[in-house]
């Protein structure tokens, strides 16, 4: 299949390894990967913070970059949630019939990375090897907006060498919430403290998720506390094919 990547502004700038891992997994599975270079940002931060007008042009940009794609894969559950939950409403608000049509046509082809593997391709075992003790955090948008269910867990369970340990309260928000972490820094920190305690209790070497935004937040505290525990995007685990060093 011809797969178009929307890597997201965030991963592109701060977590390029995630994008590389997505490419590696998809190519290993025999797909052709494309990266439309005109892509920038889905507009989530603006939209969710109340700057809807600023997010509008980014919708048109996204559609323009990806129209005609066979499948669009995004390694970020919150960006996909932004598109599914808000793009149709935004197109309607713009009163642009052609854009509405394009959004309706494009959205069913947009998948979060783990969702693409499990739901679109029907895969669980992608031939990965990752000999580490890992715990999985279910990001809120993946869990509730995209209803990923146990898809990511099934992918992880099929990884050879992995020691998968369940995270206590895995459905609890880590406290990131985009600008929430800055606007309500104290409450966000209190929520994060519960999450990192749960992660440390698992004695895992790494915590994984389908969203680097949660992981950056969790990793920030794990590093501040000098725990030595890492965070790693699900795609990077699935890309592992020989003893990858953490």
């Amino acid at each position: 299949m011809r797969v178009s990547l929307f890597i997201t502004c965030y991963n592109d700038t701060l977590f390029p390894e995630t994008g590389k891992a997505v490419v590696r997994v998809l190519e290993r599975l025999g797909h052709t990967v494309e990266f439309p270079t005109g892509q920038t940002c889905c507009g989530q931060m603006h939209y969710n913070t109340g700057y809807q007008a600023e997010a509008m042009p980014l919708l048109a940009r996204f559609v323009d970059q990806f129209k005609g794609a066979e499948a669009v894969v995004v390694p970020s559950s919150s960006c996909v949630a932004m598109m599914r939950d808000h793009y149709p409403k935004m197109a309607l608000a713009l009163k642009d019939k052609e854009l509405q049509r394009q959004v309706d046509e494009l959205l069913p082809k947009v998948f979060e990375f783990s969702e693409f593997l499990t739901k679109r391709l029907g895969l669980e075992d992608v031939g990965a090897y990752y000999p580490h003790r890992v715990t999985y955090h279910a990001s809120c948008h993946g869990l509730r907006n995209l209803v990923l269910g146990d898809g990511p867990m099934r992918l992880l369970k099929a990884v050879r060498g992995i020691d998968l340990v369940e995270l206590q309260g895995l459905e609890q928000c880590c406290g990131f919430g985009g600008t929430f972490a800055v606007k309500n820094a104290e409450v966000s920190s209190a929520m994060l403290a519960e999450k990192t305690t749960a992660v440390l209790n698992t004695k895992a070497e790494a915590c994984t998720a389908c969203d680097n935004s949660c992981l950056m937040h969790i990793q920030g505290a794990l590093h501040r506390q000098r725990t030595g525990v890492k965070t790693v995007h699900l795609a990077e685990i699935l890309a592992g094919d020989q003893g990858v060093a953490l």
Binding site: C9, N11, D12, T13, L14, F15, P16, G19, K20, F35, T37, G38, Q39, T40, C41, M45, Y47, N48, T49, G50, Y51, Q52, E54, A55, P57, L58, R61, D85, C140, H141, L143, R144, Q172, C173, G175, F176, G177, G178, T179, F180, A181, V182, K183, N184, A185, E186, V187, S188, S189, A190, M191, L192, A193, M216, H217, Q219, G220, A221, H223, R224
Partner: protein
Amino acid sequence: MSGVGLDPRTAPTFPMAAKTMLGDTQLRKNVRHATDVIQAKRARVVAEMPDWQQLREAGKQIRQHTMEHLDFYLEEFEANCTRAGGVVHWARDAEEARRIIVGLVKASGSDEVIKIKSMTTEEIQLNSALEAAGIHPFETDLAELIIQLGEDRPSHIVVPALHKNRQQIREIFQKKMNLPELGERPQDLADAARMFLREKFLRVKTGVSGANFLIAETGGVCVVESEGNGRMCLTLPETLITVAGIDKVVPRFQDLEVLLQLLPRSATGERMNPYNSIWTGVNAADGPRTFHVVLMDNARTEILADEEGRQTLNCIRCAACQNACPVYRQTGGHAYGSVYAGPIGAILTPQLQEMKHAQSLPYASSLCGACYEVCPVKINIPEVLIHLRNKVVKQNTAGVAGFFDVEASAMKAMAMIFRSERRFRAAQRLGRVAEGPLVHKDGRGEGWIGWLPGMLGGWTQVRDLQEMPKETFRDWWEKRAANGR
């Protein structure tokens, strides 16, 4: 805090109030314990309903239909209530509602009232208005009694004293009821409250209640509760005054079939409320001789007129969203500066204030969606939060002041960057240069930022930020393409 209600017009912003609450470890422990217990009970009784999702959808449909025809059902309620011997009053706002109720109590010839737990009377701060008029209100709901005697403020919609534990309640009772020998078993506390209240029930001749539902078809009023104290207030006084928001109406008696399944399971984890009271007008042989209903608007028609905010009025006040909310669970209710706390408070309060106050509340959420997941009538709270954030931004960026709004300027600048690939790439390069002076190497030789300036400083209170990688994904992709991949 004595005598001071929760007033969004004077409350500190949510982040400020939350900071204070986060320092109160006893309160946080109490809130956490209580919400854990209620959530577990709710999960158990919801799981035994195979048609729970269909019930939620039915509840949503009933509420949505009602709001679309609210004028019709309110008039139907008024006609049927009047026919049954009730007297209907209309109040445009809190001030008018207070004036009507105080007048009715005075006309009843009493300078005391017994009250049933009611969020609407809290919303309009009725107790202080009654006291100012020389009328003493006695709260009869156990939790409200604890709040009243402790000169405290409610912190939860269903369990107003949720932030207090048993020892704290015992201390309040001991002091205010003058009971030096009071034991500490739940039974001892319940007995003390019963003794204290029984005398009020038998003496006071005027009752004030809220309403869970107003039934348009019959003109009846429905109140659900767990203790039976409400039923005492509904049946013993000679005069009964009920105040309800106009959003409380339901079209038909049969709609209660759905709503009275959704409400108790969501609110207290009970299959059914122990007491479901429905009264319709007056009856010479039994109950109050005089019955008044005050139908209060208080900004509800403005909410109704807002297509995206409208679903807020579907709320049946079960507080399941509060119990599920990770933000509420950290801070408790007082941080919200309003009697409506938690996610529903974060959307209801600013709208009741016509967005003039409580502007920090729409941001008091990480948008995790746990509230939407448990809402029995499927109010999409995250969606309304985002809608209200947009209203806040529009208010704050209007006019000259908006030009100097730091956040708005940053947001606009970033949006401009994202509108062009060239500018985006330049910003990525610039970011790497700009962060340079802030980066320090850790023991593994990785670069981390431990301090950020200005608005972003909140991030680095408890978290580090990894330095930007040397190469972006798109740079890697292009290099790879150039190498023939």
